[in-house]
Structure formats: structure tokens, C-alpha cells
Symmetry: C2
């Protein structure tokens, strides 16, 4: 595989994640959100392709690439946050894949090799993206003065992720070598083989949501709501017809303004891992 | 704009065309076909990206690029024809866009510059793609011995397209400098401005289908059926609620096994022209 092939895996992971449905609360093939449609996510995914190719070819640093991805979708005229979480997971994954060794080992090296400059670029990218994270007192992504502190304390991007792993799913993945994404990738293959590509993905999404509170829900509605949502996903999985229950959950979440965006991000990372392993025929 | 930007326009044109709905008879956001799903078209579009970048950068000939695109989707494990028509239109368009002059003039130069070798590669690509075209007595795309005749008579790809323009929409576009695609691109912008991105695209699709018999329908069901389908599209456009009538037509065409694939190909070319002109905010 070459840099283009890894970029294609990342691009396709984004598009397949987007298109599976019913994916409770999120934009999918069946419905848009009032402020953001399916087409915005398509365009945003397309805008990221050159970033993924550069990442796989080792042509730029991790923070600069995440920033370039956000600038890319804004140049397409998209002003809301589409893919900040997915990009934050897929850029290091694509960088690691491009090294063509053991993916887990290379990923650890990529993450641990992140610098203070990567952290500064990441904060810049966050502000440009319009993404939301839980409020914190120290080193908040939304706080411009945080950059000064990052430089003073010489904090790299992985240092910052480790500080946030308690309240953010994406930071948790960074801190733990993407252990959850690898685990869900294995589960995804099993579910897809048993239930087919779409339903397998929906069921894995439900399991991901049931297993961990979603950070975007937590940021928007608080921890109690995030826990309640995970419990409802678990209940759907325990029912007789989880896909039908996912459809009902979808209607309910849409009404309540709940979209488990961070869980979708982790699903995209899991899809990338499966596609990079050559699982095209299984996933498609 | 650079080669990546033109490739992104081509990629996004494919994805937006795919995702608009109801698009009577074709795979769209709302439904799959039994043998081919939305995800196969997503993967096929992603597989074409490097081809489009090479086309925009002027790095290979037109026939070789069309063949590379078909090989690309087959490498992803897709064994049926997904995008042969779209690729045959988008490759020369992306090549022309990469020359960064007047798109219509550059396109004519690209088409007229095609060679005997491009014709041979194109025949090879056709056979590999599993695409269907109307049966003809001479120089049939399905006929292996045609290649010998092409070499003997020194026929370039544009020569062959001119011989087929009477019975194939794609060949007609090639023969006439994509005049229909440019015309539909202008119409698309008007319709999208008036009816929004999705419905504007659906209405333009109906107008495209009403205006010309679809070659794929002709190849599968004969000319009479293709004419009847165009008439039914025209009737839908004349009704009080064309989008609702498109939905009804969609159900009917699916039942009858009618998919106007060539019209979809022309729509992707029209979308490319609009996106290349910087119409992102209109189209999205």
C-alpha cells in the first residue's frame, strides 16, 4: 500500500461511518440535522483527503495536519464543526499506517513524538473548527491564554491529551494508544460478518455508546445526560430487535437534540483500522 | 486551485450526485439495489481520487486513466460496474480543468488530442468494468476483435465516440464538447438556488432524463422503453409537486428494474463544472 491507499482508507472510513444507519441522533443516510446536512459531511471528508495523504507520506507534523484539515473544510464554505474529532484520530492513525510496520507500535511512536508546536497548532485548529468539549478550569481548548502556559510548561500534544483523558473520549484514545478503537475494530468485523455491513456497523456503534459516555453529549448536556444515553443504548442492545430499537432511539435522540458525535469519531477510527488491514470485502 | 482541488471537485461531484434523492430508479440515499449498495458507490468514488489528481496534473493519458480507475474499484473488491460512465466524463473534465484556462476550450483540446492507444485502453477498461452499452454491429465495445480494426483504421478515442454519438449519451457528450453537461450545469445552479441543494439536483436530474433517452435503459430494455421513461420524467416535471412525483416514479422504476444510469453520469459532469467554477456555497 502507498500513501494514497492509506488516505483512501481514512476517507472511506469517514464516509462509511457517516452512511450507516439508523445511527441514533447523528446525521446519517436517513436524515440531516437542521444546521448540518449529509452533504456537508461528504464535502468535509473530501476536503481532508490531501491531509491524509501527507500524513501517510510523513510530510508534515500532526498538529499542522489537523489544522490544515479544518482549514480545508472551511475553504469549502463549511462554517460548522463537521469532523474535528475524527480528524484528531485519523491523522495519527494514517501517519502510523504510512510507516508500514506494526500499526499499534507505530501509532504509539507517532503519539509520543508529538511536540509543543503540535499542541499549539491543535489549539488553533480547535478554535477554528467550532468544536465543543467539556469545560475545564485549566488549559481549556477554548482559552487563548492556554497557549502561553503550554509553551511555559513545554507541554506536548500527548501531554495535554493525558491531562484530558478523564473527560474526553478522543483524549482517552490518544492516552491509551487507541485501545478502544482497536477493540471496536475487532468487534466490528465480527458484527459485520454476522449481521452484514450496515447493521453490523449500527450494532457496533450501539455497543461503543453503551460502553462509554459520549464526550460531545457530556459537553452539551452534562455528564448525567451522557450516562443516561449510554444506558439507553445498552437497553436497545438487550432488546429482541436492536436495529428497530436503534431506529426508535434515533427518533427520540433527534427530538431531544442528542447527537453522540464522539462515539461516531471512534467508529471511524475502528473502520480505518479494519480497512487498513485489508478488510474491504468484509466491510463492503 | 491545484491538482488536488480539481480531484476534490470530481470526487465531490460523484458523491453529491449519488446522495441526492429521490432519484428515480438509481441507488441514492434512500435505497440500495439488490446487487449494489450505496457503500459500493462510496468506495468506488474514493478509489478514483488518485486518478483524478493525475488527470489534473497531466501525468497520464486519458485511456490509461480510465483503465486505472476501473482497476482501482476492482482492487477494492467491487466486481460490478459502479462508475464507468462517470469516469469517462470526469477524467477528461479534470484533465481540462488542470490546464487552468477556459474549461470548454481546454476540454475540446483534451478530447481531440485522444489517440489510438487511448481507444485501446478504453476498450480494455470497458471489458473490465462490466458496463453495458447498446449493441452495435461495428466496433462494439464488447467485441475483442474491434481492437484490431481500431489499430488498422487508426481510430482515436474521439473518432470512436463520434461513431457512437447517435446511440450513447456519454459518446454524445464527447462528440459535442460536453455541451449538454455545461447546459445542465447552468440549469442546476438555477434550480439549486430556487429549490435548495437536494431538490434542485433532483429536478435537474428529471429535466436531464426528460430531455434525452437514457443510454443504460436503452442498452438494457431497448429504445422504446428509454423513450417511455423520458416521457414519464417529463410528466412528473409538469405535475403540481414534481418531488413527490419523483418519489412515486422512483418506486415504479425500482419495481420495473429501470435505472437511468447514463443520466446520473451527465449529472456528475454538470456538478463538476459547477464546483470547478467555485459554486461550493450554492451547491452545498
Amino acid at each position: 500500500m502507498n500513501a494514497d491507499n492509506y488516505a483512501q482508507c481514512a476517507e472511506l472510513a469517514m464516509l462509511l461511518e457517516l452512511s450507516a444507519g439508523p445511527k441514533p441522533g447523528n446525521v446519517d443516510r436517513c436524515h440531516d440535522h437542521p444546521d448540518m446536512g449529509f452533504r456537508h459531511f461528504l464535502a468535509s471528508a473530501v476536503s481532508a483527503y490531501p491531509v491524509f495523504r501527507k500524513a501517510a507520506a510523513g510530510e508534515a507534523g500532526i498538529g499542522a495536519l489537523i489544522l490544515e484539515a479544518v482549514e480545508g473544510w472551511r475553504r469549502f464554505g463549511i462554517s460548522c464543526n463537521t469532523h474535528f474529532g475524527e480528524i484528531t484520530l485519523l491523522v495519527p492513525l494514517t501517519m502510523a499506517a504510512g510507516r508500514e510496520g506494526d500499526l499499534r507500535d507505530d501509532l504509539l511512536r507517532v503519539l509520543e513524538g508529538s511536540t509543543v508546536n503540535d499542541a499549539i497548532r491543535f489549539y488553533e485548529a480547535f478554535r477554528l473548527s467550532g468544536a465543543r468539549v467539556a469545560r475545564v478550569d485549566q488549559l481549556s481548548l477554548a482559552d487563548r491564554s492556554a497557549e502561553e502556559e503550554i509553551r511555559c510548561r513545554e507541554l506536548s500534544l500527548i501531554d495535554l491529551m493525558k491531562l484530558s483523558e478523564g473527560h474526553d473520549l478522543i483524549a482517552r484514545e490518544w492516552s491509551r494508544g487507541f485501545s478502544r478503537s482497536f477493540q471496536l475494530s475487532a468487534l466490528l468485523r465480527e458484527r459485520v460478518e454476522e449481521f452484514g455491513p450496515n447493521d453490523g456497523l449500527v450494532l457496533t456503534f450501539l455497543e461503543a455508546l453503551a460502553g462509554h459516555d459520549d464526550s460531545l453529549i457530556q459537553a452539551k448536556h452534562g455528564l448525567d445526560k451522557a450516562r443516561e444515553v449510554s444506558k439507553r443504548a445498552e437497553d436497545a442492545l438487550c432488546g429482541d430487535d436492536p436495529i428497530q430499537l436503534a431506529r426508535e432511539l434515533d427518533h427520540a435522540f433527534l427530538k431531544e437534540g442528542i447527537n453522540p458525535g464522539s462515539t461516531a469519531d471512534i467508529m471511524a477510527a475502528s473502520l480505518f483500522i479494519a480497512l487498513r488491514d485489508g478488510c474491504f470485502e468484509v466491510i463492503l
